[in-house]
């Protein structure tokens, strides 16, 4: 079988079939298609303004490694006028995060972008290893997820960043759409496809890789020889997301456009007027966005610090009961 030639008639041998379009492209034409699409997403979404400080949420994984590389390249090529900084969160998971942080440090050297690492320990007084000792391995991912969301906002505020940039790709967003449908979470379903979101603090978040397929991110990293970290977290993986992901990948095998189709479905969904959505207020303790008087992170922390680690995991009525019981035990007269 003769080699397939590049669809753009450049005469080169094609190296990949694009999942989005089915086009066969050579290495160079793929690079330019990939970079141009991210550039178009940035321009059409009006993601940045000249002079802004953009904090790239960097985990050392494939998505944020490619994001940092491409953003640096496009910023230079198209004169966005952005100041870039890498922001990494150290959850304090030995054997996992310490290794991936080495990758982020390498990104700092390779791309010449300054790096700020913030730890859960310094932000919350608790590392994930310490939390797992208290809570065990069943609900630890809840703590980690809730803390990470705020940690990025807190880190960005500390850096005085104007915008936080995350590496969420088209597959991630399609997965989230599916999960929100399965859970009937209308409020999240409505906002999960937005390219720029409010974040939990006051700093907006955006996703320049929103329309980029995971396959192309991995191929781009491979052909550009970008070094990234790819080990699963040592604590329990997110089982629910795992199922949504496997389902999505099965669909993609049959019809690669399924990912973009689900993403568009999510974007097109509108909530009927008059449907009551949870009000987004502000946490009375930390001022971050919350639908309850006390945000989830503060509730979880309260539980950890009071020796009631399950507090934040329970429904709010049950949590009150737990606090009452604890109070009674503490204040009970010593006969």
């Amino acid at each position: 079988m003769p080699p397939t030639l590049c669809f753009r008639n450049c005469g080169q041998r094609a190296v990949l079939k694009r999942p989005k379009t089915g086009d066969a492209l050579c290495k160079e034409c793929f690079f330019s298609a990939f970079e141009d699409e991210v550039h178009n997403t940035i321009i059409q979404g009006n993601l940045f303004k000249s002079g802004q400080l953009a904090a790239i949420a960097a985990s050392g994984g494939k998505d944020s490694t490619v994001l940092a590389y491409v953003l640096k390249l496009l910023n230079d090529r198209h004169n966005y006028g952005l100041n870039l900084v890498l922001l990494s969160i150290d959850e304090g998971i030995s054997g996992y995060r310490d290794d991936s942080l080495d990758t982020v440090k390498q990104n700092r050297e390779d791309y010449g972008i300054p790096l700020k690492i913030l730890s859960y320990e310094s932000l919350y007084g608790w590392s994930m290893d310490a939390i797992v000792k208290q809570i065990g391995r069943r609900n630890n991912c809840t703590f980690c997820g809730v803390f990470r969301r705020q940690a990025l906002d807190r880190g960005a505020a500390l850096l005085k960043a104007d915008v936080v940039v995350t590496g969420h790709n088209a597959d991630d967003i399609a997965e989230t759409v599916l999960m929100n449908v399965l859970r009937g979470d209308i409020a999240r379903l409505q906002r999960c496809t937005a390219i720029t979101t409010a974040g939990e603090g006051s700093i907006p978040r955006c996703k320049p890789l929103k329309y980029t397929y995971e396959k192309e991110i991995v191929m781009y990293a491979y052909f550009k020889r970008l070094h990234y970290f790819s080990t699963e977290c040592i604590y329990a993986p997110n089982a629910y997301r795992g199922h949504a992901r496997a389902f999505l990948k099965d669909l993609e095998r049959i019809r690669p456009s399924a990912i973009m189709d689900i993403l568009h479905s999510g974007e097109r969904l509108a909530v009927r007027e008059g449907v009551r959505l949870p009000a987004r207020g502000v946490c009375e303790r930390c001022n971050f966005v919350s639908s309850q008087p006390l945000c989830k992170a503060c509730t979880l922390l309260e539980g950890l610090n009071r020796g009631l680690p399950r507090l934040g995991l329970a429904k709010s009525s049950k949590a009150e009961q737990m606090l009452e019981t604890k109070k009674r035990i503490i204040t009970a007269p010593d006969f």
């Binding site: 080699p3 190296v15 990949l16 079939k17 994984g61 491979y222 496997a246 990948k249």
Partner: protein, 104 residues
């Protein structure tokens, strides 16, 4: 038959976390016996499952193909351009498997 004429020599590489299923070894030089059989990627996958995979085969193979989410490149080109499972392996080919299912 164990003479070198009866063997197909190829290189297998595993990356992106796929190597974790192979004792963390990223590169394997293998010799496949050429007894009344052409080696397609489909056959190769069965061979890998029986001879190389160290754990959790369901994370690598699904049905008679590679698990969706694992990319396959033959000599640096996407297997989707080469006929996928029906591609016939040649002496000296390098087959690379990259998992996209790890980390983020």
């Amino acid at each position: 038959m164990s003479t070198s004429e009866g063997l197909l020599r190829i290189t297998l590489e595993f990356r992106g976390g796929a190597e974790l299923l192979f004792d963390n070894v990223k590169k394997h030089n293998v010799k496949l016996p050429l007894i009344d059989k052409t080696w397609t990627l489909r056959n190769l996958l069965l061979w890998i499952k029986e001879n190389l995979l160290k754990e959790r085969p369901e994370l690598f193979v699904q049905g008679d193909s590679v698990r969706p989410g694992i990319l396959v490149l033959v000599n640096e080109a996407d297997w989707e351009l080469l006929g996928g499972n029906d591609y016939v392996l040649k002496e000296g080919d390098t087959v690379l498997f990259i998992s996209t299912l790890h980390g983020g």
